[in-house]
């Protein structure tokens, strides 16, 4: 297996030099947030810290954690470390209620993001001459634009398809000779099935690799996608709060995702808020070293995984994270979109006459996730024609779609028919088998 490196100096740097860069950049980011972000200055002062106390990575544990609620409390731009006039891009992801989590990027941030995504493309062997079809959504979601900039940076020919319209995806994949597919693993599976149904055999395609992310998937699913599409299927990881796709990326060795440590420090935090050693599973936590728009200290992703610093056969020295094993909160990932049950509740409670009893059922039909929201229908809301009930259903579906950013099927139930449990109601049923 031949490995190529976008930035060989950085990617294969010896660990002690890498550590020296992290030390220096950590001191720098701490100074920047202390000076420019009142939230961090207050937190550090409460902890009795000044920037001088953070000499390097060994002092990281002294710093406060950042959680999603902090982003919400400072919505929309309160955690930006530069004036808004320096921000050239704004992305957002699901918040736990009506308001999203916002992330701002300076032009330098966009440049560094492109660099890291370019490294990630090289991890997959994608380079000039490749045709990259990006079927991640373009928009507030970082998937589309993140992959796009990285693929352009390496000089590939980029097809900015965005998600959906599978028939068109298949047509261009064949006609344009797509070599690289970027999308969620479940959408890759969907495309594979649609190709099979349409009788398109893989010898008619030029696909060689997939850069798949925004969802967890099983080794079995990886195997199925690889067989069906005749490709190497690789994991990419990222989140908008920290940057977007390209925070870490699997190389062709497929032994976990390399975290670009010259830009991020990763930690695994245990249930008692303690830092866990490599190998143990816990809450993946990131400190951004080079982001200027919205730097974050020790941001708790709530993604559960482990880290390893065992040398990788690809020659990159950056540590790897294992596949995401789950969440420490109740966030669901539906067709690549992060969904919090509390967002759905927020929408439902905003509709007069909806009983405060509901059930969220997540399932998988073929390769695609389905989201059904069961709602008890009150007499107040009951129209006595099919048309009226369907209109109400579509109104709720539209509202959910707008707020939660993923289509939900609303199903009306009789009052009292949904399961009530003692104490905390169980409102989510996830029937997906990964």
């Amino acid at each position: 297996m031949r490995h190529i490196y976008w930035n060989e100096t950085m990617e294969r740097m010896d660990r002690s030099s890498l550590r020296a860069i992290q030390d220096e950049r950590l001191r720098d980011v701490v100074r920047r947030v202390y000076t420019n972000v009142p939230f961090y200055r207050d937190r550090m002062q409460q902890a009795g810290l000044t920037p001088a106390d953070i000499r390097g990575v060994q002092d990281l544990h002294l710093l406060p954690y950042t959680v999603k609620q902090d982003l919400r409390d400072h919505y929309p731009f309160g955690l930006f470390a530069v004036p808004q006039s320096e921000i050239v891009r704004i992305h957002a992801s699901s918040g736990t209620t009506g308001k999203p989590s916002v992330s701002g990027y300076t032009s330098g941030d966009v440049d560094r993001w492109s660099e890291l995504m370019a490294r990630s493309m090289y991890c997959a062997g994608v380079t000039r001459g490749d045709v990259v079809q990006i079927a991640y959504g373009y928009g507030l979601f970082t998937g589309g634009l993140g992959a796009h900039y990285g693929a352009e940076r390496v000089g590939a020919s980029v097809i900015p398809m965005s998600g959906g319209n599978t028939a068109r995806q298949m047509m261009l994949m064949e006609d344009f000779g797509t070599t690289t597919l970027c999308c969620t693993p479940s959408y890759a599976m969907n495309i594979a099935e649609s190709l099979r149904e349409a009788g398109v055999t893989i010898d008619r395609l030029k696909l060689k690799v997939g850069v798949f992310g925004a969802e967890t998937w099983s080794p079995r699913m990886r195997y199925l996608i690889e067989q069906a599409l005749g490709i190497d299927a690789l994991n990419v990881y990222g989140l908008s709060e920290v940057m977007g796709p390209g925070v870490s990326m699997e190389c062709l060795c497929k032994q976990g995702m390399h975290i670009w440590e010259d830009h991020f420090i990763a930690e695994i935090i245990g249930e008692n808020n303690e830092t866990l050693p490599y190998g143990q599973e816990g809450d993946l936590t990131f400190t951004t070293l080079t982001k200027h728009g919205m730097p974050l200290l020790r941001y708790r992703t709530h993604d559960i995984c482990h880290l390893t610093d065992e040398p990788c056969p690809c020659g990159r020295t950056h540590i790897r994270m294992g596949p995401i094993q789950g969440r420490t909160d109740d966030m669901l990932i539906i067709r690549g979109v992060n969904v919090f049950p509390s967002q759905i509740e927020h929408v439902l409670l905003g509709i007069k006459g909806i009983e405060p009893n509901y059930m969220i059922v997540v399932d998988r039909e073929g390769a695609l996730d389905t989201l059904e929201v069961q709602v008890e229908l009150s007499a107040e809301l009951l129209g006595d024609t099919v048309k009226e009930i369907e209109a109400l259903r579509s109104k709720i579906q539209t509202k959910l779609g707008n707020d939660v950013l993923v289509h939900a099927d609303v199903k009306f139930c009789q009052p009292g028919s949904l399961v009530r449990s003692d104490g905390k109601a169980k409102r989510v049923v996830d029937r997906r088998k990964m």
């Binding site: 229908l377 009150s378 007499a379 009951l382 006595d384 024609t385 099919v386 048309k387 009930i389 369907e390 199903k411 009306f412 139930c413 009789q414 009052p415 009292g416 028919s417």
Partner: protein, 143 residues
């Protein structure tokens, strides 16, 4: 002029309909007329009964979403062409009919036509002008 109709939301699952009609039967509530609108997901049962308040309470207590809807009722002679005559008049009135159903109490005698329109008062007046008599709640109760 309007009469009360029970409108019940039922999920498409076996036994719902038997459940509701059984409940009415056990409580000596006679069904004069009944129709069901159904979709893949749910159905709406519409029924005319004498003691609609009691029926509404019983059905609600059994856990169904139920409400009372104002509808119009006409008695016509049970012979060919009678329904068409009424429908022609309704079309002339230019008042949209949301739904309509009918039932026969005794074959050959009179048939009951139940319908819901957007503006029942307007339609009632229009039909009265054309010599069609609408049934009152009292008349329904003693059918």
């Amino acid at each position: 002029m309007c009469i009360k109709q029970l409108s019940v939301f039922i999920e498409n699952k076996p036994g719902s309909l038997a459940d509701i009609t059984g409940l009415l039967g056990e409580n000596d509530i006679d069904l004069f007329s009944l129709s069901i609108a159904d979709t893949a997901q749910f159905g709406i049962l519409r029924a005319i009964v004498a003691d609609y308040e009691k029926a509404r309470r019983l059905i609600a207590e059994a856990g169904y979403t139920v409400k009372l809807t104002d509808v119009l009722a006409v008695a016509v002679h049970d012979s060919p062409g009678e329904l068409a005559g009424i429908l022609r008049l309704l079309a002339e009135s230019r008042n949209d009919v949301e739904y309509l159903y009918s039932s026969v109490r005794n074959a050959g005698e009179s048939a009951l036509i139940i319908f819901r329109v957007k503006e029942p008062e307007l339609t009632a007046r229009f039909l009265a002008d054309k010599g069609v008599r609408l049934l009152t709640q009292e008349e329904i109760s003693v059918l």
